[in-house]
Symmetry: C2
Subunit: 457 residues, 2 copies
């Protein structure tokens, strides 16, 4: 649906509400996709939305509800009657309930729990108790269970009975009497099995699962590695307690990539999207690293202070400082970025250190030579006031700096991993400051060893 | 399976091959997950692998084949007999065929095509003709088609017939006589429909689809937005030609995030993983931006050259240059990172410019004030040689720089988007150089306006 169609549909929607045209409303919500309709509902005011929720079938309105923003959900819950809240809870998947309840203030949560059935209350409280970003916190308890001694028609009948409320029927799970996970079978396999097969004989027992306390990234990794559309979640006793479906994993993958990008760029990870994050939270996520890096850059400044005498005498040397610092930062950053991302994607592990080091050394040599040569030519051609010897020393500094920066940039993330630190945090923001200092030290070392004797001589 | 279990299993596997214990081999491959077994097969030599492929059932060996590395696949294909190649092609999903054929050298591709059936050859050539990173290039042609006037039992029977070779049975698609996509129905809905329902009456017609020429990111966006597990692909005539499943989309999401991270850090995107990328490709992906940024940093140096006189007289001023440049770079980078990522996630669009600008202004003011104050205190407490007025001017520079850097950092990506450029490429690497220059200009402007008159006066 494009923007124009959306606007036209919104007008129709508002007219239907105005005229209390229930039949037309239900037809519209039947015809169009629930995600698109939710976007339109977001544009309505509370009275209009409440009318919609009173009019539509419970499963449709619950589905719409799950796609609204947390602000809108909170608004609606505050206006909902007890039975309406109960209907929503009845018709939502458990992970969607937890998803929106996790964002509500305490009074709204209480309001919801007061209107939930005893069973619902128990389940919700249990689910809300899992730590953020764990598998428990994103799992759904609406999955399909079948029995080991079911025949195929019996199993299919069981799926038919549970499937309506289940989040997916792609996999059916088999547990023993203590609820311990024993096997699984895809619905596709059930469909192609012979009538007289027994579930226990054809189920898969190569179990791939996560624990409730595992990081959600582990579920994402396994779902990707084994091409799954859902993964079972077990508790500490290895009893099946829920599943995580691939649609939630896609969100996890996006979140984790965003977090890594933020951490690599000196930002403490933010929970919410850009527009939904307040100024204060955004300030807090940035100021810490800005301060740390400002203070650490002071040490780079101290290197200049130490060589103040040299700089005062040969002021031209100052002109190359920004270029040297930037080149060091860029070269180091390139290497650390590649290694941090490869570590995050599990394409690399610390034991590959020698391979990384050998590859970076060769890449650094190539980059260093080209950079040094181009810099030398650039300086002697365009900067007449600089003599050849100075130009040579500066180019040599570029060469050495690129190599050092690349080696430090690739080593630091691996070192961080070995020290059980997050490489994105440890290596990302700090790399620039570190290689800046190295560039300046190299510069003045070479100036003192090669250039000054030449001038004095 | 942990490392230890894997090693033990590998030993068993090699023993079975040695003893030509076919029964045991088949049992092992039946018991363990195909992804894990593929990892073990990767460790075997060619002769051992060929024995495995001769021994196992065709569907199992094809599945194992699809999880091997491209190098290993190429090795095997070169050793396979004609009928073996045909079996692999028969048993692989079309997207997996294209995935590995896309990476093979021409002689291997010809070797494969020579052994394919006429029908297979036609399909493969068609699929290979789609541009890289388009929906056509990652789609599978193995989907389930049902008829509009099928009754439910007829439709389920059709799924049963096609489902074995279909990549997913989650959705069944309905086309008209010209193969134009008319609707879809999830298998779950089929399972819960009444026996005498007709597919045409209950199918969903709110079609969500991509075209073969669309960027694969579009498929990823829609699958995420609408929580799908597969999306249909149509050609220019809107005829159904394939589907893309969510497991391939997860790979797309990872790839795109990796690409964005690389682009933001001055690296031209690489196709392959870190360890699989050669030194030469890695060099090429890095040297271009290193050179561009080295040259552009020259202009920053020219600012210093312009103020050489001032720096020669007041050498202390040089000491603060690294801190000012780093602070500017970090502050600008934070903002551009947030905005680039939000644009990529479609959480922001250029029309939100004013909202972004207003938010960044307030965050920048907060950051600027804190940074300025901390810097002022730091300098007067720890740097005895610097007087209060100099310290004030430097801190004022920090304050102004942080604000300018944040505004430029957030504006540049939006501007790039408006100019139909990739914000990650345009804004990522260039931001540091740009704000570095701004920091130095601000510094010398304030020094000349406030500090020098003070000294002279």
């Amino acid at each position: 649906m494009n923007e124009k169609e959306k606007e036209a549909l919104l007008v129709t929607l508002k007219e239907c509400i105005q005229n209390k045209d229930v039949a037309k409303l239900r037809e519209l919500f039947d015809e169009y996709n629930v995600v698109d309709m939710s976007e339109l509902v977001s544009e309505l005011d509370v009275a209009e939305t409440l009318f919609i929720f009173k009019t539509l079938k419970k499963d449709v309105s619950s589905s719409i509800f799950s796609y609204l923003s947390h602000e809108k959900q909170q608004d609606l819950i505050a206006h909902f009657t007890g039975p309406q809240i109960k209907d929503i809870l009845d018709n939502l998947y458990s992970d969607d309930i937890i998803d929106f309840m996790g964002e509500m203030p305490a009074n709204i949560v209480n309001h919801i729990l007061k209107n939930a059935s005893a069973q619902q209350r128990l389940e919700i409280n249990k689910l809300l108790s899992y730590d953020e970003n764990t598998c428990g916190s994103i799992m759904s308890i609406d999955y399909v269970k079948i029995k080991e001694n079911d025949t195929i028609p019996e199993a299919i009948e069981r799926v038919r009975n549970q499937g309506r409320t289940a989040e997916t029927i792609s996999y059916c799970y088999i547990t023993d009497t203590k609820k311990k996970l024993k096997g699984y079978i895809s619905f596709k396999e059930l469909l192609f099995a012979k009538e007289d097969d027994v579930v226990g004989d054809i189920m898969d027992t190569d179990l791939i699962f996560v624990k409730t306390s595992d990081d959600q990234e582990e579920a994402a990794r396994l779902i990707q590695k084994y091409d799954l559309t859902a993964i079972p979640v077990v508790n500490d006793e290895e009893c099946l307690v829920g599943i995580i479906t691939v649609d939630d994993i896609i969100d996890v993958i996006h979140e984790e990539a965003t977090e890594d990008i933020q951490k690599m760029n000196a930002i403490s990870p933010l929970e919410d999207t850009y527009l939904h994050t307040g100024v204060w939270d955004m300030f807090k996520s940035r100021i810490v690293w800005l301060l740390i890096l400002m203070i650490s850059a002071t040490f780079t400044g101290q290197i200049l202070a130490y060589y103040e005498g040299v700089l005062a005498e040969y002021t031209t040397l100052t002109v190359f400082i920004p270029m040297l610092m930037d080149t060091a930062g860029n070269a180091g950053n390139q290497s650390s970025t590649m290694v941090i991302r490869a570590l995050a994607m599990k394409e690399l592990s610390p034991k590959d250190f020698l391979k990384v080091w050998w590859k970076e050394t060769r890449v650094a040599l190539l980059c260093g030579i080209i950079m040094g040569v181009v810099n030398f030519l650039r300086v002697i051609i365009f900067m007449n006031q600089v003599d050849i010897m100075t130009s040579f020393v500066i180019s040599l500094t570029v060469f050495v700096t690129v190599i050092l920066a690349k080696l430090v940039g690739s080593t630091l993330p691996i070192l961080a991993t070995l020290l059980k630190q997050d490489p994105a945090v440890m290596a990302g923001p700090l790399i620039t400051t570190l290689v800046d200092a190295m560039a300046l030290i190299t510069y003045f070392f070479l100036v003192q060893k090669l250039l000054l004797p030449f001038y004095v001589g």
